[in-house]
């Protein structure tokens, strides 16, 4: 039993002192805590709130649906097809492999597909849907849907993907879309966030590419709240994007398909212009390719095949290919000479089969010569000597000036990839580019569309269209955007004497309707639909004197790539032109035998707006035409049936 000590009072006072010290220290610490709390929650609150929002809010982009592309009659050329796919969520699936094996009995899956899916699922968080199979048929989709109870974690989804119902027929014009590549990103200036969406598809070529901004639309946004693992908790808000605008082209899908079918087997470019307003109703290049392959991601094998094909299926020859225009260029040479006042259309030039110009001999295609030639006869029979003579009077610069007025040597403003400028040579050009003086022989060569002169089928079609109408026809490809009609180009007169043009048209009429015309074999029998035009055969090699002496080798005996290009420019009906056409068949041989029949068939198809009756053809070739028509209809049939299904 301890007695209370004397100093207990003093000791308690000591404790009290120390207790107050301790208490003060504690309050000091609490003051620090309160101050820290205040600085974080009041002074720096804004900054932390921002961080909290960054944590929880994710912005997801909603891809707009791409605008559609139609032809002039409303036939779909590019559509958004429903694309059925099957996705799987790992956390809902349980035994992933087991479910995949069950799924395999319903839809075709390779071992690789399964391995890839398992690997991808392992890489992502368990709640991320992983695509197992893409582009399923509707039946397969239905099978998966019916069996969902047995397939935990498997969902069937519908997405949109681009499809081209006419397939290869419009490949060079409409182009195709593909996923954005790093190359695209480095090239494209616009900073549309849509481009950051993985596998977002943008136009790669053709109209799809050139009208990308119109077709694409603008992105919608979806703000979602996510948790720490990135799982979507809820949608905060959603702003729908604007779908892309629909585009209507001037193309006539039926005619386009016909032309592609007619060109089957050739390497060629054909352009048809509606003379009323400059509408391009067919812009065909052959051979062609299936743009749908590119949308799905083309296989290496298909790609190699397309790339190594000597006929270059990927090239849009109608607008991109340039060729020596050959005799079709005589229109420009003659008009230049008459306009310059150095040639009277009735004046005759004697053709003896060749012309010697400053020590070089230039040959006419007819070694024996044509005799006396005026403008009409020289065009009809395509005499070369006549032009060798008149070109020297007018000079290359004026010829080229006339060629440019007729639509050559310039890029026509069309929404297509790689439009060629062609070449209308001048003295300055040769000095600047080649560093050489222009020589008279160059003019002589150019006068018949050889030498330096280069033109694309599009340019040649524009040329003949301007000659046929006397107006400055400007080609257009876009008829309407978002239902709004696009204005046709202004219809200014060409500024060439109408009397001269009338004489020229009479000559072009004679080319295919006079027995001695170069395209007489390709005439149209129906008088009111008569074909007028000009043939051309352009050499791609030089014919030496020895060869000439030994007799010129026939085209058929040459290797393909050394044969002549076959050309034809023309229009119909001859009396009241409605359509102009240019046909270039690469290494096709003669313009009259190869290119002119194509032009005839295509123009008849255009004028009848469908297969023409056999009566439109001369009686001697009707049976031959009948088989040709059957063959073409068979070629068209599979394409049109597939478009009907889509």
């Amino acid at each position: 039993m301890k007695r209370p000590s004397r100093d207990s009072g003093e000791s308690l006072r000591g404790i009290s002192r120390r207790a107050l010290v301790l208490g003060a220290a504690q309050f000091g610490v609490m003051g620090v805590l309160a101050a820290r709390m205040r600085s974080m929650q009041v002074e720096e609150a804004e900054q932390y709130r921002l961080l909290a929002d960054e944590n929880r809010i994710n912005l997801r982009l909603l891809a707009p649906s791409r605008g559609l592309v139609f032809d002039r009659n409303g036939v779909a050329l590019a559509i958004n097809e429903q694309n059925y796919r099957v996705v799987m969520v790992r956390e809902d699936a349980g035994d992933v492999e087991d479910v995949l094996q069950r799924l395999r009995r319903l839809i075709p899956l390779t071992d690789d597909d399964i391995a890839r899916a398992i690997e991808e699922m392992a890489r992502h968080s368990p709640f991320v849907p992983v695509t197992i199979a893409d582009r399923l048929a509707w039946e397969e989709m239905a099978r998966v849907n019916i069996n969902t109870p047995a397939l935990p974690g498997v969902q069937a989804e519908v997405g949109l993907s681009r499809a081209y119902p006419l397939g290869s027929d419009t490949a060079h014009v409409v182009g195709y879309v593909g996923p954005v590549s790093d190359f695209d990103l480095s090239r494209i200036e616009d900073q549309d966030p849509l481009l950051q969406i993985p596998k977002f598809q943008i136009g790669k070529t053709g109209v799809e590419n050139k009208l990308e901004r119109i077709l694409r639309g603008s992105a919608g946004t979806r703000r979602i709240e996510v948790n720490a693992l990135g799982r979507v908790m809820r949608e905060i808000d959603r702003i729908e994007g604007t779908p892309g605008n629909d585009v209507q082209l001037t193309l006539d899908a039926a005619l386009q398909s016909y032309v592609e079918a007619r060109l089957d087997g050739e390497s060629a470019g054909v352009v048809v212009i509606d003379l009323e307003n400059g509408d391009l109703t067919a812009v065909a290049s052959a051979p062609t390719f299936d743009p749908n392959l590119f949308v799905r991601g083309i296989s290496t094998k298909d790609w190699t095949e397309l790339n190594e094909n000597p006929y270059r299926p990927l090239a849009a020859k109608a607008v991109q290919g340039t060729y020596p225009p050959g005799s079709t260029f005589k229109l420009a040479t003659a008009l230049a000479a008459i306009e310059a006042g150095v040639l009277d259309p009735e004046e005759t030039v004697y053709c003896r089969g060749y012309v010697d110009v400053s020590g070089n001999r230039f040959h006419c295609w007819k070694p024996t010569g044509h005799g006396n030639m005026n403008l009409h006869e020289s065009l009809k029979q395509s005499c070369d000597c006549y032009y060798y003579e008149i070109c020297q009077r007018v000079g290359i610069d004026l010829i080229s000036e006339m060629a440019v007025r007729l639509g050559l040597g310039q890029r026509h403003d069309l929404p297509l990839s790689a439009i060629a400028e062609g070449l209308t040579p001048t003295r300055d050009w040769k000095l600047k580019v080649r560093g050489e003086d222009w020589r008279i022989g160059d003019t002589v060569n150019a006068s018949i569309g050889q030498g330096f002169v280069l033109a694309s089928p599009l340019q040649l079609a524009v040329m003949v269209a301007r000659v046929a109408t006397g107006r400055q026809i400007i080609p257009r490809l876009i008829r309407a955007i978002d239902g709004v009609e696009q204005p046709a180009a202004s219809d200014e007169p060409l500024g060439v004497n109408e009397n001269v043009l009338r004489r020229m048209r009479a000559a072009l009429d004679a080319v295919s309707n006079h027995t001695r015309g170069t395209a007489y074999g390709s005439r149209i029998a129906a008088d009111e639909l008569r074909l007028a035009g000009k043939t051309g055969t352009s050499q791609v090699r030089r014919i030496t004197q020895e060869e000439r002496d030994a007799g010129i080798t026939r085209n058929e005996d040459l290797p393909w790539e050394r044969r002549d290009h076959a050309l034809f420019v023309g229009y119909a009906p001859a009396d009241a032109p409605r359509f102009a056409i240019a046909v270039v068949v690469e290494h096709g041989g003669g313009g009259s035998t190869v290119a002119a029949p194509i032009a005839r068939d295509v123009l008849l198809q255009a004028m009848y707006d469908g297969p023409p009756p056999l009566s439109a053809y001369p009686s001697n070739i009707r049976s031959q035409i009948e088989t040709l028509q059957e063959r073409i209809q068979q070629r068209i049939a599979p394409g049109s049936s597939s478009s009907g299904r889509a």
């Binding site: 301890k2 209370p4 308690l12 504690q26 610490v29 309160a34 709390m37 009041v42 720490a228």
Partner: protein, 379 residues
């Protein structure tokens, strides 16, 4: 002073005792626990299970224990001090060898109905024993080296055992809590000065030992220190917890995002949101006003304890009350400093608010002792 002296003055007895309880303190404790229930309800996404309901039950049990302890005369508890310390020490040794493995540290004894953390018991037992020691020791001897070494050993033995578990937070609490009792008892300033110097030396030693064969802390503890020093180094890895906690706290602003509207909490950006980091949920949902209100309640609890200690007529009651107040203070100060990024994450719960059985029961029992000292004070 002994209980004989009580006879000279009036000491409440029998059924009158409850009238003399420190009722403001009871109300404050209930208020703090109430905030805890609210927050546990919130972090469960608006549900009483799994956390709020057991917590309410434990609070009920704890309050009952507090009242029972308060009714028993304080001198009984003084006599029990050595026993409490001995039992706690045995249990600490027990978990050292047989404890269940949880959270990477051996801390619990599974009693079937609850998990007992002997380290929690020890926090109170140590304060009791030290108070009793200085009550027994003649005040003139308080600062004699031999009489200083004994309490130092009494503190160090459990501290080292806890540190070995390893439980850095509890070790700090034992050390600082025990030290506070010694300080209050009047041990000479010089000792504390030397210990603080030695402590600084120890910190230096801890950092120097890193990566050597005599490394003093575990790697994860070093990592926690590193991220404390610069959490931005590794915002998605080791520094993630503290960064997210600070974002939650700061983004609360003045008035908070509203009850159950805390995005950091609800979307799982917060770690251990129902235990050590529950303060950040409070700060996020009720803002500066809510957080400082809790701090104010805690401060009032300290104030009432200190007042009670100052009124005590015997050294045991006074030192015990001060020691328990100090331990309580250390709990919330360390926890708050931790989630505000002022201290490394050491794993100290927010007293009476964080979900957890042992801490709640032991703290309420400790306040039972404070109440007993208050009730049995001669008047």
């Amino acid at each position: 002073m002994s209980y004989l002296e009580y006879n000279a003055k009036y000491v409440p007895t029998g059924l009158r005792k409850p009238l003399y309880l420190n009722w403001p303190l009871v109300l404050l404790l209930t208020a703090v626990a109430g905030i805890g229930f609210l927050m546990l309800y919130s972090v469960a996404g608006g549900s009483a299970s799994p956390w709020m309901e057991p917590q309410v039950k434990r609070f009920g049990v704890g309050m009952a224990a507090m009242f029972v302890i308060a009714m028993i005369p304080i001198w009984f508890w003084r006599n029990m001090s050595a026993m409490a310390y001995a039992v706690s020490l045995v249990l600490l040794l027990w978990v050292e060898f047989f404890g269940s493995i949880g959270m990477g540290a051996q801390r619990w004894i599974d009693l079937g109905f609850m998990r007992l953390q002997p380290s929690e018991l020890m926090k109170i037992a140590l304060v009791m024993l030290l108070a009793a020691y200085y009550d027994w020791l003649a005040p003139s001897r308080t600062s004699r080296p031999i009489w200083v070494i004994i309490p130092v050993l009494l503190i160090l033995i459990p501290t080292l055992l806890v540190l070995k578990q390893p439980d850095l937070g509890t070790a700090i609490l034992l050390l600082a809590g025990g030290g506070a009792v010694m300080f209050a008892a009047g041990v000479h300033w010089g000792y504390f000065g030397s210990v603080i110097l030695a402590g600084v030396g120890a910190v230096v030693a801890v950092f120097q030992s890193r990566g050597t064969s005599w490394q003093l802390l575990k790697d994860y503890q070093y990592q926690r220190i590193d991220t404390f020093l610069d959490p931005s180094n590794d915002p998605l890895g080791a520094g993630y917890h503290i960064t997210q906690a600070k974002i939650a706290l700061g983004s609360g602003g003045w008035t908070g995002k509203g009850f159950m509207q805390g995005t950091q909490t609800r979307l799982n950006f917060l770690p251990e949101k129902h235990t050590d980091f529950i303060f950040t949920t409070l700060a996020e949902e009720f803002g500066y006003i809510g957080a400082s209100t809790l701090l104010l309640l805690y401060a009032l609890i300290i104030v009432f304890c200190v007042i009670s200690a100052l009124q005590s007529r015997d050294r045991f009651s006074s030192l015990l009350t001060l020691g328990i107040a100090m331990t309580f203070f250390l709990f919330f100060a360390v926890n708050m400093a931790m989630v505000m990024g002022l201290l490394p994450v050491v794993g100290v719960p927010l007293p009476l608010v964080s979900y957890g059985g042992s801490a709640m029961l032991v703290l309420l029992a400790a306040f039972g002792l404070v109440q007993s000292a208050h009730v049995h004070r001669p008047r």
